[in-house]
């Protein structure tokens, strides 16, 4: 039965982030001129990793239910691809750390946020925010090189975890690949599989165009009018049935055939699309 593997420490799941750090990521985000795409990309990674860490937290400790890797890509000033592993002590060939190591490697910042005070108002409180990735943007977009590197890293991971829930790749980009057509390379990644199913490729598309945000479309015609949207839709896996069922049960806009594609929108909910044990009722967000 595909996508049914028990996610446990004996049989961890895997997230691999692919982060576009090319020059175009310094443009403002559509509809949010105060925020650049690179801020959106760093924020996406930090928030998703925070959510994974919290899901694995038992209070004092974090259980190693997942391995996590981050690959960033740009070029040097002559246009040569630079694909780097962002987590400490990792390499492009072996970009992964266990989630407890990932938690250890976070820089934790205090930020003031407004939260409901329980009496209809807001109260300012200090909360801790973990940071792994800082915004960065320069030079070219070697997306194909990054996907090829990701494919190699995933093949290594799968060889070590043949029975695990299939790895999930989360690509954050504005879509403008500078080294060829990324669709066939992404397809090769989706063709990799564990005994539990094929690798899932999810895309968080950040655009300067201020079209309405889109989440998890099921059809190409539902993609936004951005010039790269159709290509990125094609590079995104359809959610497995088990995910559709879970996500729909949470009231999220996911239907049969929905793809792991969001446009100028939040992807943190992805972390909730996995079963790792008895859920706490109010965790279902």
């Amino acid at each position: 039965m595909p996508y049914a593997a028990d996610i446990s420490r004996n049989n961890p799941g895997c997230f691999l982030f692919l982060i576009d750090q090319s020059g175009s990521m310094s443009e403002a985000l559509g509809g949010q001129p105060e925020l650049r795409k690179m801020d959106g990309a760093a924020d996406a990674v930090n928030r998703i990793l925070d959510a994974i860490s919290q899901r694995c937290s038992q209070g004092m400790d974090v259980r190693d239910y997942f391995d996590v890797g981050i690959l960033t890509y740009t070029t040097d000033s002559s246009g040569n691809p630079e694909v780097k592993a962002a987590l400490p002590g990792t390499s492009p060939e072996q970009p992964f750390l266990t989630i407890s190591q990932v938690v250890e490697s976070a820089t934790v910042e205090d930020r003031k946020v407004k939260e409901p005070d329980g009496a209809g108002g807001l109260v300012e409180v200090t909360r801790k925010f973990p940071v792994w990735l800082r915004p960065q943007a320069r030079f070219g977009t070697p997306m194909c090189s990054a996907l090829i590197q990701a494919s190699q890293a995933l093949q290594n991971w799968i060889a070590d975890h043949p029975d695990s829930y299939p790895p999930m790749v989360i690509s954050v980009t504005d879509g403008a690949a500078g080294d060829g057509n990324p669709v066939p390379v992404a397809q090769e990644i989706m063709d990799l599989s564990t005994n539990d199913g094929s690798v899932l490729v999810y895309n968080a598309h950040l655009s300067a165009m201020s079209a309405l945000p889109v989440q998890y479309p099921a059809d190409e015609s539902d993609t936004p009018p951005d010039e790269y949207a159709v290509q990125m839709f094609r590079m995104s896996s359809a959610f497995p049935d088990s995910v559709v069922e879970l996500a729909a049960g949470m009231g999220l806009p996911v239907t049969q055939g929905s793809r792991g594609y969001v446009y100028n929108a939040d992807m943190v909910a992805l972390v909730q699309f996995l079963d790792i044990g008895t859920r706490a009722a109010s965790d279902l967000r």
């Binding site: 937290s57 004092m60 801790k128 044990g277 008895t278 009722a281 109010s282 279902l284």
Partner: protein, 259 residues
């Protein structure tokens, strides 16, 4: 002849891959020499299953079964209000067990939210009016199950009746009273008279699901469980897990026989 209970059977095993310290189910059994009419004089058994995705769930499951052992709620006339009152000491005990000033960032939000657990509690007391009989009462929130085996058949499956009804979203009791929601709606109750030969089986969800699936397939899972002892229990559970017949989860069994 006066009905009485045989010494209870109690077994537990953590999820494969987790250590004994990480076992988040909990059980308690109090087995008085002389079973009285109610409260502390009744025999009582409970199983709780801490929700693995909440923080400090193990402490919460433990606090619940300890409370049930120390003083079970009055099950006959229980109301939402009396249940909340009964829970309050366990909730305080949980709160006091949390090292609030040392919680790392990843545990903060979950700890504030509170821990969650299912609970199944059973009391067996002397039937009223001086009869020789025993009667039982059970309360359940979530998917820990009580099975009663009578005359070599499954006479009761409570609160879940089919293996297909188990999922990862059972009803739960929260350690934070502010997050309790409408707990009373999730409470299931049952009760009846005991007969000689009755076997009461309390099981946390993975074992309960296996039990119901085996029963539906025409097997007699209670016979399999009756053959288990401390030497073969862990091995037998591991076999079922590897064969894909039982979910890899904390596993707990309590069995009481009326004779």
């Amino acid at each position: 002849m006066q009905l009485r209970l045989r010494p209870p059977t109690k077994f537990w095993l953590p999820k494969a891959g987790n250590s004994a310290e990480e076992y988040e189910d909990a059980l308690s059994v109090v087995y008085p020499q002389q079973i009285g009419a109610a409260g502390r004089s009744a025999a009582r058994a409970s199983v709780a299953d801490g929700a693995s995705e909440s923080a400090f769930a193990r402490e919460w499951a433990r606090a619940l079964v300890d409370s049930f052992a120390a003083q079970p709620p009055e099950l006959t006339g229980i109301t939402g209000e009396s249940l909340s009152e009964w829970l309050a000491p366990a909730q305080r005990k949980w709160y006091d067990s949390v090292p609030w000033d040392r919680i790392p960032w990843h545990g903060e939000a979950k700890a504030r939210q509170g821990a969650f657990a299912t609970l199944l509690g059973l009391t067996i007391a002397a039937a009223p009016h001086g009869s020789q009989g025993l009667s039982w009462q059970a309360l359940a929130v979530g998917d820990c199950c009580l099975f009663i085996v009578r005359d070599d058949r499954l006479a009761l499956s409570f609160p879940i009746e089919e293996a297909s009804q188990f999922d990862n979203n059972p009803a739960l009791i929260c350690s934070n009273p502010d997050n309790a929601g409408d707990l009373w709606k999730a409470v299931r109750r049952h009760g009846g008279e005991c007969e000689a030969g009755d076997v009461f089986i309390l099981a946390s969800d993975a074992l309960a699901c296996w039990f119901l699936a085996a029963n539906s397939a025409g097997d007699k899972p209670w016979e399999t469980l009756a053959e288990l002892d401390s030497s073969n229990w862990a091995g037998w559970i591991e076999e079922q897990r590897s064969a894909g017949l039982m979910r890899n989860d904390d596993t707990t069994l309590v069995a009481l026989e009326v004779v």
